[in-house]
């Protein structure tokens, strides 16, 4: 009997320890809660219907998978919203980690911390049917002659300048929607986005949108990998990295990607 009680007590302690997770104890903003930030608004297919707590959408699903892996139950996850600038401003953060397609770059890494990458983004060329009818092809030579646009806050800008090297200076905008607006006004021919975003814009936002082609994720120049953004020196980083590595090893991350971002296959590669 006594043995059984001891075992039960030990088990209780053990489950207790798993619920709290030895790694994360005392490292989150609030004990027993994991505060996750995402964009405002958050877009398809990263978060469906701007409701991350529904767990629908790639990044929402990744966030909950990471949380669970670190020992947080779903209702211990708290969502907040942040802009890019809020995420990089110096000082205390109001989130444990922030995910909204942050590309990991060496220079950003000096100011904030990034987790292990959870997604490798191909870059895709979004254009309109009239431009394709006008003879635009999925080749760098053909792309150079187009008038380009991009979201100024993304790594699309350096990739555009390094890989495509357009003849005319690209036009840059503050938001995806402004890029699309300029495309509708025929002020730009094409724009560079990460592939899932480009697919969304061409399917939902831009009526005659076409994905002309992609620069695959494993390109040698400027590969684009998304990481969870954390305050510089956040002790939680090791736990988050361990969780992402475990999700990669178990194949769960790949399964989430297959569930939400499966359409990304079959887009022609730009030569």
């Amino acid at each position: 009997m006594k043995l059984m009680t001891t075992t039960a007590a030990l088990m209780l302690i053990a489950t207790g320890a798993i619920a709290q997770n030895d790694c994360v104890t005392g490292k989150t903003l609030e004990d027993g809660k994991l505060t996750i930030a995402t964009g405002n608004p958050a877009y398809y297919p990263w978060v469906m219907d701007d409701a991350p707590e529904s767990k629908q959408g790639f990044e929402a699903a990744v966030a909950y998978a990471v949380a669970n892996e670190m020992g947080f139950s779903d209702d211990q996850v708290v969502w907040v919203r942040s802009s890019f600038d809020q995420a990089i401003q110096p000082g205390a953060k109001d989130f444990d980690f922030n995910l909204q397609q942050y590309s990991i770059t060496e220079e950003r890494d000096e100011i904030v911390d990034f987790s292990e990458p959870y997604y490798s983004a191909a870059m895709a060329v979004l254009t309109r049917q009239p431009v394709v009818d006008g003879g635009a092809e999925a080749s760098v030579a053909s792309l150079q002659g187009l008038i380009w646009g991009a979201d100024a806050n993304t790594t699309a800008v350096p990739i555009l300048n390094e890989v495509v090297q357009p003849d005319k200076e690209p036009l840059l905008y503050g938001e995806n929607i402004d890029v699309v607006e300029a495309m509708k006004a025929n002020q730009i021919d094409a724009a560079l986005f990460d592939l899932p975003t480009a697919l969304y814009l061409s399917a939902v936002v831009l009526e005659d949108g076409v994905i002309l082609g992609q620069f695959p994720a494993d390109r040698s120049e400027s590969p684009d990998e998304f990481g969870l953004l954390m305050e510089e020196g956040n002790p939680l980083k090791s736990c988050v990295d361990a969780a992402i590595n475990a999700l990669k090893a178990s194949g769960e991350l790949a399964a989430i990607e297959a569930q939400w971002l499966s359409e990304t296959t079959g887009v022609p590669v730009i030569k």
Binding site: R108, V112, A152, Q187, I188, E232
Partner: protein, 253 residues
């Protein structure tokens, strides 16, 4: 002596106290990062040339449209009432709507009607938006200038046999325009800063270029660099406007 001493004391306090704040190292790294500054400053200067160019071609257009609108508002003959009404509506609308909204609406809206290239360029329609907004302000300044010329001068001109148009051209405007030069200088300094708003519809001028650097390096130092470049232009311009105003005051007294 006292002024120098107190200024020095304040400077010392600032330079010693601010770095004592616990968040100072992080702020310094994000806003006053020497390496980032050195890397981005040449690109910012380059982008600033676009600001100067937009300013250079907008300013004369604003001057003439503003003058026209002011004259329209001064039309007193009943037959010209529609012209006057147009002047009133124009200033009311474009003075009342934030510049950025005009830039969005004109910069994306008008080209969206299906204009062919190059007539749908954001440079053209962004400039149009700036010109519309600022000429509304400038028109009001000119109007006060025109009204400041005493009615007796118009009467005197009429008694000399000058037509209304000639009175305006040779008697009123030369005095009016000169009187409001300082006020207009202030508006043109404001315009120099608002040129940066054109970045919202595509042109990569200094503010947008700074934003690109900020985003790629997760560092706000490029904004500080951009601010310094703006100051290098606007501080001398403000001093010049002050100087003009002082001269105006002396001339009046």
């Amino acid at each position: 002596m006292v002024a120098g001493g107190s200024t020095l004391a304040v400077l010392i306090a600032l330079f010693i106290l601010i770095p004592l704040a616990p968040g100072w190292p992080a702020v310094k790294k994000s806003f006053f990062n020497g390496a980032v500054f050195a890397k981005t400053f040449p690109g910012l200067l380059d982008a600033f040339l676009l600001d100067v160019a937009i300013f250079a071609w907008s300013a004369p257009l604003i001057f003439f449209l503003g003058l026209l609108i002011a004259l329209a508002r001064d039309a007193h003959s009943p037959a010209l009432y529609p012209v006057r009404l147009f002047g009133i509506v124009f200033t009311d609308v474009f003075r009342g709507v934030p510049v950025i909204l005009v830039i969005y609406l004109v910069g994306f809206g008008v080209p969206g009607l299906g204009l062919p290239r190059p007539w749908n360029s954001p440079y053209i329609w962004g400039t149009v938006a700036l010109v519309l907004t600022y000429s509304a302000y400038v028109a009001e300044v000119f109007r006060t200038g025109i009204e400041s010329v005493h009615q007796s001068q118009r009467s005197a001109a009429a008694s000399l046999g000058l037509s209304n148009a000639d009175t305006m051209r040779y008697v009123v405007l030369p005095q009016a325009v000169r009187r409001v030069v300082p006020a207009n200088m202030n508006l043109f300094i404001a315009l120099q800063k608002d040129v940066a708003l054109l970045s919202f519809i595509g042109p990569v001028e200094i503010f947008r270029q700074a934003g690109v650097y900020k985003s790629l390096m997760a560092n706000f130092t490029p904004y500080v660099g951009a601010a310094l470049i703006f100051l290098a232009i606007t501080i001398p311009a403000t001093r010049y406007a002050d100087h003009l105003m002082a001269r105006e005051r002396r001339a009046k007294s």
